[in-house]
């Protein structure tokens, strides 16, 4: 590979690449990220490639594998450019028709088009899909054009232009000033102003400084960072380089969790390609700037997403946080000044430099600027990655983009921010989503997980789930987090199993407050949020569990029982056969009975019964 020795050479290289790529060949874009692969994209790609070769059209089409585009609900997808036609939920069996009719004849296959679950209308092109229409895709828009394994793709769409601009004409101080006035805040959850962090790191003294990219994303249901790093690693690398230039760092680390093998692979490849091209290493683009990046894999501890624990892990020590009375920007990795930012924060930097801080600050609310990616999951029709301008209401996200409830049950709450966040009820859905308003409502932005829950979810059970998660993932160093969260789980388990008392609820509140105030790191300080927010908005559910020993949503097994309704049961015998515990008896054509002693409340009979004859009470 050639080496670029001057900033003008990058521009020439880009022109050459664009020249090479001219021509009217159809491009078939197939997202092939981890989520797409899970949905079955490798089989589709294989079938499509075989079919293209068999039908002899390999001269006229290019197959382009990219990272995930965000609409994970409808994967595997195929996108045709030019034309912007999109096919959803493609199977390997469709490959023959796609090549024979769409590629050769230009005909559009109706059956593969996206059907809007709300209106029932078919959408021919990507831009017609309401899921995309309502978004403001600043970071995710590139995913479509970039093959993460090719630096050429990134350069062709204008990549590393912000780096050239920085090295050529912007002083480190101006970069920091630009980031500061853009109002960019840390996307990992804390929301610390990025410009201020950089300025502090720049003024800190140290023989060497580090920039670190935190890609240890561990929240259940969140995968924005994985998608960005997997689909467009060079964007993150470019952001890190600009950050390194600004604070005077010479070494960078990308800390990716090992559970993201594709992200590790793509990040490593991207670093290697950038190094070969002369974008990393000594004398970058002929300037005096030197900087290199190493990709480090995390061992799979949730707590290593915390900045000091992450640095301990990078140093090869046990991933445990340390007190932050001295900030990491002064004494971080190996006691040297370190700037640690989230993947998304780094990815936002190049566009701020290119388009100016005013452009970035024009989006969003007073305290939170720009766009944010959320992972919308749970009981909504359209799940996937959603990028919106800060300040969009939860209503818009859940109903306009998400398409409303999946199974017709009413939506009850949305859980934001993963285990550190809280549950917000429907009455709070007109809340603009930004750092401050979510925090005031008792939740937090977190890294951007958003789990929608409907009437079939028990909020006490949700609190229990998150406490279980946190108890497993607590590092165990400090008392409030290790013992306190464990005791909170003990109390909530008592409540869900019918042993709870009113005193225990007030004890739970007091304990939650203690854990929040006294824990050592951010993980412990936010650990009680799921409990506190559910207690705040869904207290009646806790009281129902405690006073009436009932679970209103019918989830907590110890508090529910199944009954067969006499008037609805036809005696078909389906439930009798389906019950794994032999708890149902009855004769053909006669009403069946559930023996409560034998019933383990698995709920299989409810899903099997076609007449809704089994009631949960």
């Amino acid at each position: 590979m050639r080496r670029l020795n001057h900033s003008s050479e990058l521009e020439n290289y880009r022109r050459e690449l664009l020249e090479e790529r001219k021509g009217g060949a159809t491009t078939i874009i197939i997202p092939n990220g981890t989520c797409c692969q899970a949905a079955g994209s490798p089989a589709v790609i294989k079938a499509l490639l075989q079919e293209i070769a068999r039908q002899g059209v390999d001269k006229n089409v290019q197959v382009h594998l990219t990272g995930c585009h965000g609409f994970c609900e409808q994967e595997p997808m195929i996108l045709f450019e030019p034309g912007n036609v999109i096919y959803c939920r493609v199977t390997p069996g469709d490959a023959r028709d796609i090549v024979a009719r769409t590629v050769k004849e230009g005909e559009i296959l109706e059956r593969l088009l996206y059907t809007d679950p709300v209106t029932g209308k078919k959408a021919k092109t990507e831009t017609e899909i309401p899921f995309y229409q309502a978004q403001d895709r600043q970071l995710l828009q590139y995913n479509k054009w970039v093959d993460p394994r090719s630096i050429k793709d990134y350069i062709a769409i204008g990549g590393y232009r912000a780096l050239v601009k920085t090295l050529d004409s912007i002083s480190p101080k101006t970069v920091i000033e630009e980031v500061r006035s853009s109002g960019l805040r840390g996307r990992g959850g804390g929301g610390f102003p990025t410009g201020r962090k950089w300025a502090e790191a720049r003024s800190a003294t140290g023989d060497e400084k580090y920039v670190i990219c935190n890609a240890d994303e561990g929240d259940p249901g969140a995968y924005m960072d994985r998608c960005l790093l997997e689909a467009n690693p060079h964007l993150v690398i470019e952001g890190m380089m600009i950050g390194a230039w600004a604070v005077g760092a010479s070494k960078g680390y990308i800390y990716v969790r090992n559970e993201y093998p594709l992200a590790v692979q793509h990040a490593r490849l991207a670093v290697k390609q950038a190094r070969e091209l002369g974008l990393l290493g000594d004398n970058i683009l002929g300037s005096s700037f030197f900087f290199d990046i190493e990709v480090a894999r995390g061992g799979g501890a949730f707590v290593c997403g915390e900045s000091t624990a992450l640095m301990a892990s990078l140093e090869g020590k046990v991933g445990e946080p340390r007190p932050k009375d001295i900030h990491t920007v002064k004494e971080g990795l190996w006691n040297r000044p370190s700037v640690l930012n989230n993947v998304e924060t780094w990815a936002n930097v190049p566009s701020i430099i290119l388009n100016g801080s005013g452009w970035f600050a024009s989006k969003g609310t007073k305290g939170s600027k720009g766009t944010k990616i959320f992972a919308l999951t749970g009981q909504v029709k359209n799940t996937g990655l959603v990028e919106i301008a800060m300040g969009t209401t939860l209503n818009d996200i859940v109903f306009r983009i998400g398409g409303g409830p999946k199974d017709g049950k009413a939506i009850k709450a949305v859980q934001t921010g993963g285990p550190s966040g809280g549950c917000l009820p429907v009455s709070k859905f007109d809340l603009p989503v930004d750092f401050d308003s979510l925090y005031e409502a008792g939740s937090m932005m977190g890294s951007g997980g958003m789990v929608v829950m409907d009437e079939g979810t028990c909020m006490v059970d949700v609190a229990k789930y998150f406490l279980k998660f946190l108890q497993d993932e607590s590092c165990g160093k400090c008392v409030p987090c290790r013992i306190g969260v464990d005791r909170m789980l003990e109390i909530v388990t008592d409540i869900t199993e019918g042993r709870g008392t009113r005193e225990q609820i007030s004890l739970l509140e007091e304990l939650a407050d203690t854990v929040r105030e006294t824990s050592l790191c951010g993980l412990g300080k936010t650990a009680p949020n799921p409990v506190l927010s559910t207690l705040r908005y869904f207290a009646e559910e806790y009281f129902a569990h405690v006073d009436e020993k009932k679970c209103p949503a019918g989830v907590c097994r110890e508090l529910i029982h199944y009954d067969i309704l006499d008037e609805k049961c036809t005696g078909c015998g389906v439930c009798l056969k389906a019950c794994p515990h032999g708890a149902i008896r009855g004769e053909k054509k006669k009403v069946h009975v559930i023996e409560s002693q034998l019933c383990l409340k698995c709920g299989i009979c409810v899903t099997e019964c076609k007449f809704d004859a089994i009631a949960v009470g």
């Binding site: 007190p323 009375d325 108890q471 607590s474 160093k477 008392v479 409030p480 304990l511 105030e517």
Partner: protein
């Protein structure tokens, strides 16, 4: 010459050497901040969270551990506010419910005003204060014991579970363990755990004598670090 800074602890102007922790500065002048994982001359980790104080700055206060907080000129520290007492009592309650068979922890619980334990007792043998591990690592440079595992499974262990040759057999780990002295009546059996309320130290724990000394017994190797008694 030692450079000093002046800070205010509980309204009292205190002079302390630059670089010392707030906890050390307070203990030096006889202000008792309850603590468990702190050992003099070892690096503080802030694990037990008992030594929390309020750091008042510009009208707002932040709860933080005093052992990891370095003294600064003009600092205003409150060690005994209502909020701190409640939080500290809750932590001490968690600790004593976890390990009631330690005189040190029972003493701390009395000192922090624990009147009842609202959780079922667990009667474990270790509260993971890390005193043994840090003494072994920092004082003797032996690294013969360390923490293994995460969260609930975290425990103190020899490397790979076998006592290594480089263990100097010094016994410091036992000496500095808060579990090495049992409550006055001897070890409590499972199901018979209780909050120690029999001894005379209870008398000084009246609500109007806040923060009175209960003569904490933090293991045989180490009594109170307060220089003035």
């Amino acid at each position: 010459m030692v450079q000093t800074v002046t800070l205010t602890i509980d309204g009292v102007p205190v002079k302390a050497a630059r670089g010392t922790s707030v906890l050390d500065a307070a203990l030096e002048v006889g202000i008792c901040i309850p603590h468990l994982c702190h050992v003099p001359f070892l690096k503080d980790t802030g694990a037990c969270r008992l030594c929390i104080v309020e750091n008042v700055r510009n009208g707002s206060s932040r709860v933080t551990t005093s052992c990891t907080l370095t003294v600064q000129e003009g600092m205003n520290i409150q060690t005994n506010t209502e909020k701190i007492r409640t939080l500290r009592r809750n932590i001490a309650e968690l600790l004593v419910a976890q390990a009631p068979n330690s005189k040190a922890i029972q003493d701390i619980a009395v000192r922090c005003g624990v009147k009842e334990v609202r959780y079922p007792f667990r009667n474990e043998n270790c509260v993971q204060c890390g005193r043994c591990v840090r003494y072994c690592t920092e004082m003797w440079r032996a690294d013969a014991i360390g923490f293994v595992g995460r969260g609930k499974n975290r425990h103190v262990e020899f490397p790979f579970g076998v006592r290594p040759e480089f263990c100097k057999n010094c016994g410091s780990c036992t000496l500095y363990c808060p579990m090495s002295v049992t409550p006055c009546g001897g070890p409590m059996k499972r199901g018979e755990e209780r909050l120690c309320g029999q001894c005379e130290s209870q008398a000084v724990n009246a609500p109007d004598v806040i923060g009175a000394c209960v003569r904490c017994q933090l293991g045989t190797g180490f009594s109170c670090t307060r220089h003035i008694l």
